[in-house]
């Protein structure tokens, strides 16, 4: 009897200890087999390039040349001795570079999405682009920074893919596995011309843009880019000359985007103590209670001049992709209830009710969408959602790049529009109005009206509904849930959520209008 008890315990312990608990390190994605290689993508409209032919790619050596034959032989030699690690790299990148870089980018945002820690004197050091490895790291990849980063990387990839397609069909050099039966196809075989290699283009454009946005991650970025090029070579998809031409094209496209990024107004988005005080004074002069930081010690507002247009000569506001300054101002939601009004008291009371009546179901919604510090942010969440639909749709690399670019340009514009609104009104958070309100997630350190989550989600759902119309109901339901999660968590009023959601949808309309005429339909 006693021995049986003992035996049972020992067996139970051994069973659990031996259980496989491993969690996949990388997103589990299927091998990309495009349903259509989009041979005409070289004619689609560029975002920033003047034309898809703007950056010249010289003609390659002929397939029959000795130089090319030597390249083929080199692939065969490599394929004869592939290591397990090399095969695993091929498997990883065979999901498609667009999806993989999006996953890498989400990881970088999560890694750098940490606010500076306070100093002993009660102030906060600012992240310094010239000292990205310091404490705090540069950047603080908060939601507006992240929205901008996702948009630069994906829009640059999209323009680079269109340029690659353009030159592929100018030069029409087939993939090595289509030229020589001795070269194995270790990724899905297609008829897409190989010169310049789209994988190399993508490695170059992604790495160069990412190094500007996340300079402290240079090692990881560079290694991933090199791995992508190697996987293209090892898999029989591209020769060294396909790859070197692709890398050069990718880097050249990146320059067009990084040049824009360096002068897009981001550098002035933090502002200064004097300017922050002016924002507060403006609200006071309108008879409103101005927003204050609810952190201890008080933290400077997050990127107050990311959205505001010409508040001050030194703060132009970060450029949008599809909207002019006039568009941004014209789309700004109407003013929130006056802070002293009865309507505001009602809104505060509703927030308090949610604070005091939290259910497990609502907590799950709050946590599902919290996307706060240390995460990939709400823009990243929508990229993650999009990744599943893009994967399932078997899109070519150029069309997958288009989907992410459209999504992220709209979400960036939503960030600009929402931040413009937040700092134009400078409205207090519910727990500033009533300190008894306790929250089920962190209170973001910026004004309440309108909700960033709602604006991001409204814009993302609108673009994804355009791209995947059969799923529109799902995307809109998710956006509404994300929006309401902020009321449930007691960090936003209902009007912040509703007005933000509508604002995001209107903003996305500008990107959808671009998409309707970009030649991809």
């Amino acid at each position: 009897m006693k021995k049986i008890y003992l035996l049972t315990i020992v067996l139970a312990v051994l069973t659990v200890i031996s259980c496989d608990k491993e969690v996949a390190l990388n997103q589990e994605l299927k091998t990309l087999t495009p349903s259509n290689i989009d041979a005409n993508a070289g004619t689609w409209k560029p975002v920033l390039l003047t034309s898809n032919a703007q950056i010249a790619v010289v003609a390659p050596t002929a397939v029959g040349s000795d130089a090319y034959k030597a390249e083929l032989q080199a692939i065969k030699d490599l394929q004869a001795g592939l290591t397990k690690a090399q095969r695993s790299s091929i498997d990883y990148w065979s999901a498609g570079g667009v999806l993989r870089w999006n996953e890498i980018l989400r990881g970088l945002v999560a890694r750098f999405n940490l606010p500076p820690a306070p100093l002993a004197n009660g102030t906060y050091p600012a992240p310094d682009a010239e000292n990205p490895f310091g404490d705090p790291n540069f950047p603080f990849a908060n939601p507006p920074y992240a929205a901008r980063a996702y948009s630069y990387v994906t829009a640059a990839q999209y323009d680079a893919m269109k340029a690659a397609w353009y030159w592929k069909y100018q030069h029409n050099r087939p993939a090595p596995y289509n030229v020589d039966a001795g070269v194995q196809a270790l990724m899905t075989k297609t008829d897409l011309p190989a010169y310049p290699s789209e994988d190399a283009v993508m490695s170059g454009v992604s790495a160069e843009v990412l190094k500007l946005l996340f300079p402290a991650a240079v090692e990881e970025i560079t290694l991933k880019a090199a791995e992508q090029r190697n996987a293209a070579l090892w898999s029989g998809k591209a020769t060294t000359s396909d790859i070197s031409a692709g890398l050069a094209l990718g880097k050249a496209v990146a320059t067009v985007f990084t040049d824009r990024a360096k002068g897009d107004g981001m550098g002035a988005a933090i502002g200064s103590k004097v300017l922050w005080q002016q924002l507060s004074d403006n609200a006071t002069s309108r008879g409103e209670t101005p927003w204050i930081s609810l952190e201890t010690p008080p933290r400077p507002p997050m990127l107050p001049f990311f959205g505001l247009r010409t508040f001050n000569a030194t703060t132009p506001g970060v450029k949008a992709w599809m909207m002019t300054n006039a568009n941004i101002v014209a789309e700004r939601p109407a003013a929130p209830p006056k802070t002293a009004s009865g309507e505001m008291s009602d809104e505060v009371a509703e927030v308090k009710w949610y604070s005091e009546n939290l259910t497990r179901e609502r907590l799950a919604i709050i946590h599902k969408w919290a996307d706060g510090a240390g995460t990939y942010t709400p823009p990243g969440h929508w990229n993650e959602i999009a990744s599943h639909y893009i994967e399932d749709a078997n899109l070519s690399e150029v069309r997958a790049a288009r989907a992410f670019a459209l999504l992220n340009m709209a979400v960036h514009d939503a960030a600009v529009g929402c931040w413009e609104t937040k700092y134009f009104y400078f409205n207090p958070r519910p727990c500033q109005m009533d300190p008894k309100i306790k929250t089920a997630t962190g209170v973001p350190n910026f004004p309440a009206y309108t909700s960033g989550h709602s604006t991001f989600s409204g814009s993302a759902a609108t673009v994804l509904s355009y791209l995947f119309p059969g799923e529109a109901q799902y995307f809109n339901d998710e956006a509404s849930e994300a929006s309401m999660s902020r009321l449930y968590g007691a960090i936003h009023y209902r009007s912040d959520c509703q007005m933000g959601l509508d604002h995001g949808k209107r903003i996305a309309g500008y990107t959808v209008n671009f998409a309707k005429t970009d030649g991809a339909n």
């Binding site: 659990v16 200890i17 390190l25 999560a110 820690a117 604070s355 599902k368 510090a373 240390g374 089920a440």
Partner: protein
């Protein structure tokens, strides 16, 4: 808004560490057909915590307080084999900042302890024990709101070995070590970042835990008193990054010292009072907790052969 927590899965383990007398870690067993049961109340609080290895405070948490009311029962199937059960109700709250308090029923723990051998040696007796424990959440609480979550939401199994030398004059020394295997947990969100990596899944791998306790004390008649040292090491997991939130799978380590007194009251008969306290002297990704515990335990004898 970053802080730490130790409580939770460790809470039960460590609170059992501080309840002695017929607990999972001690060198005692209940006689056959006796049932010791009661409630214990534990008050834990910390102001400083270790963010990785950096000790700091956080004015958006202030002092984090965790209170636990635990039902506890141990039954002697035989002199050699005891079984135990406990169920805690946990309240957490932060004294500063906006984050809301949480509360709820946490994890059920069932365990069994078996005395493998007992021999006379010198002026006393030497005994060894093996024990196994199983714990699982009784409610669907969220482990994703650290440090205010009431628990880790992981199902665990642990195996423990205890050795004890008790002298005839009442002095004893006891040492106990356990390996705890923890099941993965699911979050309400589809992705997370921890330990230098972004995971595109809601499933979190929970590293296993090793802990040991060494205690020296005196046990004679109605009185038991001792001092102890405990060490808990999480065998894997990442550090809390600079100014980040704590995370369920963090590498939570803690070294604690404490003391215990247990006394069977002259009246009412069979009722014991138990008081103990401990302090975290070193840690990693945990709060520097001061813990106080008080309990009342009553023993029922279902047999005539009383000790």
């Amino acid at each position: 808004m970053k802080r730490t927590l130790l409580l939770t899965s460790a809470l039960l383990l460590l609170s059992l560490g501080v309840l002695r007398a017929q607990t999972i870690t001690d060198g005692l067993t209940m006689p056959a057909k006796t049932f010791c049961t009661g409630f214990m109340f534990q008050h834990d609080q910390w102001k400083n915590y270790w963010e990785g290895t950096l000790k700091r405070d956080n004015q958006n948490i202030g002092t984090l307080t965790t209170q636990t009311l635990m039902y506890y029962g141990v039954y002697g199937i035989s002199k050699k084999l005891n079984i135990m059960a406990s169920v805690p109700y946990v309240w957490t709250k932060a004294s500063m900042g906006t984050l809301r308090p949480m509360e709820g029923v946490q994890d059920l723990t069932l365990s069994a302890k078996y005395r493998l051998m007992e021999v006379k040696a010198g002026p006393g007796k030497f005994a060894t024990f093996v024990a196994g424990a199983f714990s699982t959440p009784l409610t669907d609480y969220s482990p994703d709101f650290m440090p205010l979550s009431i628990g880790m939401a992981s199902t665990t199994l642990s195996g423990r070995v205890t050795t004890n030398y008790a002298m005839n004059n009442g002095l004893y020394i006891n040492a106990s070590g356990a390996y705890t295997s923890r099941s993965n947990v699911d979050l309400d969100r589809p992705a997370y970042y921890t330990d230098g990596h972004y995971y595109s899944t809601n499933e979190v791998k929970m590293p296993n835990v090793f802990d040991f306790i060494v205690d020296v004390g005196y046990h004679k008649g109605a009185l038991q008193t001792e001092v102890f040292y405990t060490q808990m090491n999480t065998l894997g997991g990442g550090d809390i990054r600079r100014q980040d939130m704590p995370f369920v799978s963090n590498k939570m380590n803690a070294s604690k010292v404490g003391a215990l007194v247990m006394y069977y009251l002259p009246f009412p008969k069979n009722l014991a009072v138990r008081l103990s306290g401990n302090y975290t002297v070193a840690g990693r990704n945990v709060g520097q907790t001061t813990s106080l515990l008080g309990g009342l335990l009553y023993t029922f004898y279902f047999t005539k052969d009383k000790e």
